[in-house]
């Protein structure tokens, strides 16, 4: 089932074109990994899906992005962003307590009942594999957590809103290998319930967790296929060169 369908997407920031005629479908309950070198347009693509690019001045786009068959521009941005959660490259806890971080989205959507909030927070923290580490200190500042814990907190915060799609923007770029493994483990289990789009600089990470993998280069999508296929028999030589580390 197609969850998000992108057709002929072109994006410019001022006069620089960031994405060139990208078309791809994202299926429900898959992990789509997007790999590619810096400045290949991966993050721009991701930020198109929750319309975060539109905050930038000089942003211009052509083409269509459909979410469950509906053009995202005819959806209310708040509803769209509620459905498509995002985890950023660096752990970005808000300057609030652990509890308030996770409860933030729900509160903004009007949930005030303390008991319901507590349930939501507990469920989200468990899904992000953080509950056991923080359950005794929910009221301490989120900045007291380690980098890896902070990133899992950010995942929990995203889950607490009840999204259908989660956009990961290089979620492990600032983490050590052990923390990375924990985040990846969380992602694989989240796939059962959510649709995941993962932008990553780490080719091996895409190989480990991706259902399908897309390769972006200089704003173009070179190819997209099942992850095994991309890593064993890519159709395009450039994909092969990138995966083998000949450039990057």
């Amino acid at each position: 089932m197609v969850k998000i369908s992108v057709k002929n997407l072109n994006i410019w920031f001022d006069s620089t074109q960031a994405l060139k005629d990208v078309s791809l479908d994202i299926y429900a309950n898959e992990i789509l990994s997007i790999i590619g070198p810096a400045n290949s347009g991966k993050t721009t693509f991701l930020r198109t899906l929750n319309r975060l690019n539109e905050l930038e001045r000089q942003f211009r786009m052509e083409g269509a992005v459909d979410y469950d068959g509906v053009d995202i521009h005819s959806l209310d941005t708040q509803i769209l962003r509620k459905k498509t959660g995002m985890v950023f490259a660096l752990p970005l806890p808000l300057p609030l307590s652990i509890f308030d971080n996770v409860a933030y989205g729900s509160r903004m959507h009007g949930i005030k009942d303390k008991k319901i909030l507590l349930e939501i927070v507990e469920k989200a923290l468990k899904e992000a594999y953080l509950w056991d580490e923080v359950k005794d200190r929910l009221s301490t500042s989120a900045f007291k957590l380690s980098g890896g814990q902070q990133q899992r907190l950010c995942i929990a915060r995203t889950l607490a809103v009840g999204p259908e799609v989660i956009l990961f923007d290089e979620p492990c770029s600032g983490l050590d290998p052990i923390s990375t493994a924990k985040v990846e483990q969380a992602m694989i289990l989240l796939k059962e319930t959510y649709t995941i789009v993962l932008v990553t600089n780490n080719v091996k990470q895409a190989a480990r967790v991706g259902t399908r993998t897309a390769f972006f280069l200089s704003g173009e999508m070179v190819e997209i296929d099942k992850t095994e296929r991309i890593f064993t028999a890519p159709a395009d030589d450039r994909t092969n060169d990138y995966i083998e580390g000949k450039f990057g």
Partner: protein, 282 residues
């Protein structure tokens, strides 16, 4: 190597002496005012009305007047200034008109205070017919400190990391929710710094209150905001230049009270700011 060490020493002594040059006069002023003013300070001086052509008695009406004026100026300018700052930093598009508006506000902070005084006279005293009153004086002082509050608030709002806003928006919060729950709480220390500067300026200026509120000699307390009032800076000016044979210690005593009053009001703001800074952790 030797050369760089020498220039290092020269740079250090230049920077150090520049700092000293600033600190020493300030220290001297404070020491002088305390030394000459302390003998005048007693309970009667602080709580009595001026007597015998202001040569004896106390300065209570002037203290009360200054407190009223500063409070009035802040009550008027803090909400308006903050709202304007939020609009300018969060909502206004980056176009030529808005850039001119921002530049104009920054420059308004440099307008001489006597110009604000004349404006207040024409606008509040005459046009709105508030007369010479606490209301006119507070509004004039409020307008004078608006640019300070707007500029400081804008800087405080803009210094909240952009990523916090993105996170909040990405969770489906609206723009106003993001401002209300994320941006504003983290900007409060900076906004209070602007308020402190505003308080100091409003308490100390003579020219803006000269035509709009200040009474030369009014040995009773104001009963409403439409009354005239005495104020410390104007009182100081009067007893220093307009009334002959005022004892030196009364003049310095008045200056000392003004200094302590401003310090005290700043202290309140500093304590609040400290409470908020403790929470800020990034």
């Amino acid at each position: 190597m030797r050369n760089s060490q020498r220039s290092q020493k020269i740079a250090f002594s230049l920077l150090f002496s520049a700092t000293l040059l600033i600190v020493v006069p300030v220290g001297l002023i404070i020491v002088l005012i305390i030394q000459k003013g302390i003998p005048a300070i007693d309970w009667q001086f602080l709580t009595d009305i001026p007597r015998k052509g202001m040569r004896e008695g106390g300065i209570f009406p002037a203290i009360v007047g200054t407190l009223y004026l500063v409070a009035g100026a802040i009550v008027f300018s803090l909400p308006i200034g903050l709202l304007a700052a939020i609009y300018l930093s969060e909502y206004a598009k980056d176009n030529a008109l808005n850039r001119i508006i921002k530049l104009a506000i920054v420059n308004l902070a440099g307008v001489p205070s006597v110009v604000y005084g004349l404006f207040g006279l024409a606008m509040f005293v005459v046009f709105f017919k508030f007369g010479a009153s606490i209301l006119s004086g507070s509004l004039t002082l409020g307008i004078m400190i608006l640019p300070i509050i707007i500029t400081a608030s804008r800087e405080a709002l803009e210094s909240v990391p952009y990523s916090f806003r993105e996170v909040s928006l990405s969770l489906g919060a609206s723009k106003w929710q993001t401002i209300r729950h994320i941006v504003l709480p983290n900007a409060i220390p900076g906004i209070l710094t602007g308020t402190i500067l505003g308080i100091g300026r409003a308490a100390g200026e003579t020219a803006p209150i000269l035509f709009t509120v200040a009474a030369f000699y009014l040995p009773k307390l104001p009963k409403s905001i439409f009354d005239q009032a005495m104020a410390l800076p104007y009182h100081l000016y009067v007893i220093s230049t307009q009334v002959p044979n005022v004892d030196e210690k009364i003049r310095y005593g008045t200056a000392l009270v003004l200094l302590v009053l401003v310090l005290f009001m700043n202290l309140i703001a500093i304590v609040i700011r400290y409470q908020f800074r403790k929470r800020k952790k990034w």
